[in-house]
Symmetry: C2
Subunit: 231 residues, 2 copies
C-alpha cells in the first residue's frame, strides 16, 4: 500500500537461494505498491549475534556485576547502546510491517537472527515491565515470519514426526513478537524447497508474491495458546 | 557417577551470576561423584554463532551456490570443518551427559548458544537423513536444559500470560536434542531468580545440587507432543 514502510530482516548467506528469491519478490511486489522497503541483510552486514558488554558504550551502571538486560535497558535510556543496535531500532521504529525471512534452523531462527532479536528488542525500546504483550511498545506494527523448512508439510502436520508447525512458532510469534506488542500476521511457510521441483519452487514464490498483493487487508492471528496448540 | 563424562555448555556473561552459581554447584557435585567435567564457557570463548562460509576450511563443494547445511555435511565427511566446531564435536562425542546452562532469551537460548547448536550439531555428526529422532547419532547420550527465567512460575503456568513452560521447550528438546537422538532428562527450571530473595535463590541452587546427586538414576522424559502440550 502506497506510503507504508516495510522492514525485511533477512537471514540467508546465499543471494541466489530460495530465501533470496522470496526476499526479491517481496521487494518487487511491495515496491509496485508504493511501499518504502528497508532490508537488513544480516549475513551481508556480518551482524553481531552475541549479547555482550560491547553493546554498551562507555560506563556500565554496575561494573562489578554484568547483567545484560539491565545494562541494555539503562544504555537505551541514556542513548549509549552500540550503533549497530540503534540503527536497527530506528528501522523497526519507522516500519509499519516487519517481515522476517529465514530458513528454519533447529525449529527456530538462525543464530544471527536470534542475536538480532536478543540485542535489538531490548527493554525500554520494545517493551517495559509493565508494558508487554498487548501493551508492548511495538503494538502499532505488524510482523510476519516467512520461513523455509527442510522438513515436508507432512512431517510438520499434527501427527507428523516433527509435530504441528504451529508448535515451533510459539516462542517466536508469542514469546518474542507478541511480547513486544507486534500484531502477528499468519506465517508464510515454504515447506522443503530443497526437495521440491523447480515448478513447485516457482509456485511457492508466486504464492508469496500473490499474498503480498493483499497483505494490508489481512487481520492478525489470535496470538493465544489456542491458535498454536488447540485441536 | 564415577567414570561418567559431563559436558556443560554454559552461556552467561557474568561468572558471579545465578547461572554461574548453578554451573559452579554442578561442577562441585559431579566432581564429588568422580565424573569428568568439561565446560564450554561460550562467552569466555567468544564462540562464533554465525553459520558462514568460514566454517569450511578450503574449497566448497559448490562455490557457485552456498548451501550451509550441504557444505557443513560435506566438510564434516572430509574433516574440513573449522576447528572451533570440531573441538566442540569432540567434547560432545566424549560426553555421557550434556547440560545446557543458560538464561531464557525470548523463550529460547541466547544467540551464542543457538549458534553452538546451529554449527556443532551438523549433519553427519549429530544426525543424517535417515538417522534422526530415535535413530539420531547422539542416541546414547543424555541432555538436560538448566534454564533461568525472567518470568515467574505463575506466568509460565498453563493459564499464565506466557503459557506453560513446556511450550517453549519443544523446539529445543524435541526439535534439536531429540532430533539428534539425545535422551532428554527433565529440565531444571529456576524461575525468576532476579526477583527472588537471597534465601529463595540459595534454595534453587541447593535443589539443583540435590537433584544432581541422583541424576544418573533418572529416566528420560517421553519426548512426544503429549509431554509438551497434553492436558
Amino acid at each position: 500500500m502506497a506510503g507504508k514502510k516495510v522492514l525485511i530482516v533477512y537471514a540467508h548467506q546465499e543471494p541466489r537461494s530460495f530465501n533470496g528469491s522470496l526476499k526479491k519478490v517481496a521487494v518487487e511486489e511491495l515496491s509496485k505498491q508504493g511501499c518504502t522497503i528497508t532490508i537488513s541483510d544480516l549475513y551481508a552486514m556480518d551482524f553481531e549475534p552475541r549479547a555482550t558488554r560491547k553493546d554498551v558504550i562507555g560506563a556500565l551502571s554496575n561494573p562489578q556485576f554484568f547483567n545484560y538486560g539491565v545494562e541494555a535497558y539503562e544504555a537505551f535510556k541514556k542513548r549509549s547502546l552500540a550503533s549497530d543496535i540503534t540503527d536497527e531500532q530506528k528501522k523497526v521504529q519507522e516500519a509499519d510491517l516487519v517481515i522476517f525471512q529465514f530458513p528454519l534452523y533447529w525449529f527456530s531462527v538462525p543464530a544471527i537472527l536470534k542475536g538480532w532479536m536478543d540485542r535489538v528488542l531490548c527493554q525500554g525500546f520494545a517493551f517495559d515491565i509493565p508494558g508487554f504483550y498487548d501493551s508492548g511498545f511495538l503494538k502499532n506494527k505488524l510482523a510476519l515470519l516467512s520461513v523455509t523448512t527442510g522438513g515436508t508439510a507432512e512431517m510438520y502436520g499434527k501427527t507428523g514426526v516433527s509435530g504441528d508447525f504451529r508448535y515451533f512458532l510459539w516462542p517466536l510469534q508469542h514469546g518474542a513478537l507478541h511480547f513486544c506488542g507486534f500484531k502477528v500476521l499468519a506465517p508464510q511457510i515454504s515447506f522443503a524447497p530443497e526437495i521440491a521441483s523447480e515448478e513447485e519452487r516457482k509456485a511457492m514464490v508466486a504464492s508469496w508474491a500473490q499474498r503480498l498483493k493483499t497483505i494490508w487487508e489481512e487481520e492478525p492471528i489470535d496470538c493465544t495458546p489456542a491458535w498454536y496448540f488447540g485441536q
